[in-house]
């Protein structure tokens, strides 16, 4: 399978990966590549700021339609800062749990209602 590189700065036209809407642009490109059976290298080169809101839409929502194993094999990241790695890991772990147990949120609402 061929590799394709997605450059985040170029995709969103900004060195700040902060807005959810910009994350969506990155997400759509990854999906395009996956649909075309390409492996993706997602480059964070020159990114200066990241929010979890951006990473949730860019990467977190991949777990909705793709299996963990598929993502592991077909998506690699490069040039991620140390703080970016920490944020990305949390976003990914949260996404895996969210799609595995969609009822968890509803249960947490029920729990707090009983407080």
């Amino acid at each position: 399978m061929e590799n394709t590189t997605i450059n985040i700065v170029n995709t969103i036209g900004d060195v700040y990966g902060v807005e959810a809407e910009d994350g969506q642009k990155v997400f759509e490109l990854i999906i395009k590549a996956f649909t075309d059976k390409k492996k993706v290298i997602l480059s964070f080169q020159n990114i200066e700021m990241l929010t979890t809101a951006f990473l949730n839409t860019a990467i977190g929502q991949l777990y909705k339609d793709y299996q963990e194993e598929y993502i592991k094999v077909n998506l690699k990241v490069s040039d991620v800062s140390e703080s970016g790695k920490v944020a990305l890991k949390r976003v990914v772990d949260t996404a895996k749990l969210y799609y595995k147990d969609p009822e968890a949120l509803k249960r947490s609402i029920d729990e707090i209602s009983e407080d």
Binding site: E21, T51, S83
Partner: protein, 287 residues
């Protein structure tokens, strides 16, 4: 006559602003008179601005009948009063972080604002601060701004802040006049949470109202950082009040309701923690 006396970052001060709102929210094409006395924390301009904007949207005229001269100078320096027909004053001490009213789609303006007001504008005031801590503060502010953008359904977002070089503190406030935590969460889950329960739910990790997308990390990460930084975070949403600081969490209910959400952040600028320590995360083991 409406009086705001000694407005600081306290439950009581937020209550005063809520009273101001509740007492005048029914007014239409009216004249609303206001006095500001003794003290007014500059960052609270964001909350006051949001309340006054609600009155202006009912075509009321706002009259500042009296503002303590010291307060007036600060509110001229931070641009707040320029939104109400006054001439701005130069900030020679460079300790204000300007009052700003933005549309939720104005992310790019917010970025310039953050760079000008927090990064480049105050390079010389924050010598003791580690680069990592400064980045964490800016990240935290961004997470809150993006939350207001995504969740609040507001027409405008109001921000303001203040540096306190002698106290090693920075205060920053982000306000929206959107639907609030309670309605957002109850709409999503068909629940009947009170404002206080809604806020308490939302500050925990992995709690999100987004459908089909995971999330709920922004407030949780902010809370962790506030803990390490020994800062403070306050959330006012409708009649709910939440505070987290070194003494833990406290939750209270207001009399009346704020027409939206205030997130008030206080960070210590003498934080020398190294936040850019190498993480133990292997880049090949993220997914």
């Amino acid at each position: 006559m409406n009086k705001l006396v000694s407005i600081n970052n306290t439950f009581e001060s937020f209550q005063s602003l809520i009273h101001l709102y509740e007492n005048n929210k029914g007014e239409l094409f009216g004249e609303i008179h206001l006095e500001i006395r003794q003290f007014f924390a500059a960052n609270m301009s964001a909350a006051l601005g949001a309340v006054l904007d609600k009155f202006v949207s009912n075509l009321n005229n706002i009259h500042f009948d009296y503002i303590n001269p010291k307060i007036e100078l600060i509110l001229l320096k931070n641009d707040f009063l320029t939104y109400f027909g006054k001439q701005r004053a130069a900030d020679t001490n460079n300790t204000t972080i300007k009052f700003q009213k933005l549309k939720p789609i104005d992310g790019k303006y917010f970025k310039n604002y953050v760079i000008e007001e927090l990064i480049e504008g105050h390079n010389t005031d924050l010598p003791q601060m580690s680069k990592g801590a400064k980045e964490k503060i800016i990240e935290a502010i961004y997470e809150i701004f993006v939350n207001a953008q995504i969740h609040s359904e507001t027409k405008f977002i109001y921000t303001c802040g203040q540096f306190f070089p002698n106290k090693n503190k920075i205060e920053f406030t982000i306000v929206d006049t959107g639907i609030g935590f309670r309605e957002k969460i109850n709409n999503r889950f068909g629940s009947q949470l009170k404002s206080t329960q809604a806020i308490k739910w939302a500050v925990e990790e992995k709690r999100t109202t987004k459908e089909g997308i995971s999330g709920g990390l922004g407030l949780a990460i902010l809370k962790e950082f506030v803990g390490v930084n020994k800062g403070k975070m306050q959330i006012v949403s409708n009649d709910g009040f939440y505070q987290f600081d070194g003494e833990g969490e406290s939750i209270k209910t207001f009399e009346g309701e704020f027409p939206g959400t205030i997130v008030n952040l206080q960070f210590r600028t003498d934080d020398i923690n190294n936040y850019s320590l190498k993480s133990e995360i292997n880049i090949n083991d993220i997914f």
